[in-house]
Symmetry: C2
Subunit: 153 residues, 2 copies
């Protein structure tokens, strides 16, 4: 288990890069059946007739995976968990079965909460890339993170 | 099955409202285990000690559900499927097990593609509300939608 990270550990400009995970066809279809059952997400045969020429993943799955890579694949295990406040996402390219995805990004803004001094807001930008280093998604998001009680002073 | 909708069927200012679906504890935990396994999403006992005082849903599940309600719960079954281009999401309030969610929104912008005349871009704003009519999420998103070949002229 990686060391827990507090708001106080972060600096603007801090860069991160994750390990890589494979989007398997099975995981892609399972997610989409439950959450985004469009034919080009769930039916490999029918998807061939779509504008994509084959099965592609749901953007929501890429979004969730991006945050998971931030928490688990970059060592940014926030104490108390991570709570998203808002996110601006662009889906740039389809994610296809077998794509290996990783993220690269940086912290762009840090702001302590005025009303609740035990926490702060962390804004980051991250690009999710496939095995050919093509961007499949960009995200700029703000999350809540807790301050270290020992360092709040 | 509802009538298929083309880009040409939409007008700016058009409002929509969906039917309501329950976020069950079982569905909330199943989604989170696979996609967002933070303790306040997956462990009802541990979640009591979190800042939320109990289990809450993943924002990605609310996002995916919102789009599903747009497609299936508002009669907006787009011909050829719906492909998200980008989205700006704010998570306003926790979603808790048993919450019944619906969406209300409107189409805010329509733009035909210059390079590909068979399609256009649809921008909408939608609020996802719980059973107490409290906003749990707002989204402004742009999707690709196909034009009706019969009406393109």
């Amino acid at each position: 288990m990686s060391k827990l990270v507090y708001f106080d550990d972060l600096v603007v400009g801090q860069r991160f890069e994750s390990s890589s995970v494979e989007m398997t066809e099975e995981s892609l279809i399972r997610f989409s059946r439950e959450n985004d059952p469009q034919f080009f997400h769930v039916d490999p045969e029918a998807a061939k007739e779509s504008m994509f020429g084959g099965l592609i993943g749901s953007g929501w799955q890429t979004g969730a995976l991006t945050l998971r890579l931030l928490l688990e694949g970059c060592g940014l295990s926030f104490a108390g968990g991570v709570v998203g406040m808002d996110a601006h996402i662009s889906w740039k390219r389809p994610v296809r079965p077998g794509d290996c995805l990783h993220i690269e990004g940086e912290i762009t803004k840090l702001r302590t909460s005025r009303s609740q001094p035990d926490r702060g807001f962390v804004t980051f930008r991250a690009t999710t890339l496939n095995g050919d280093e093509e961007a499949v998604q960009t995200i700029e998001a703000t999350m809540l993170a807790f301050r270290d009680p020992a360092r709040r002073g």
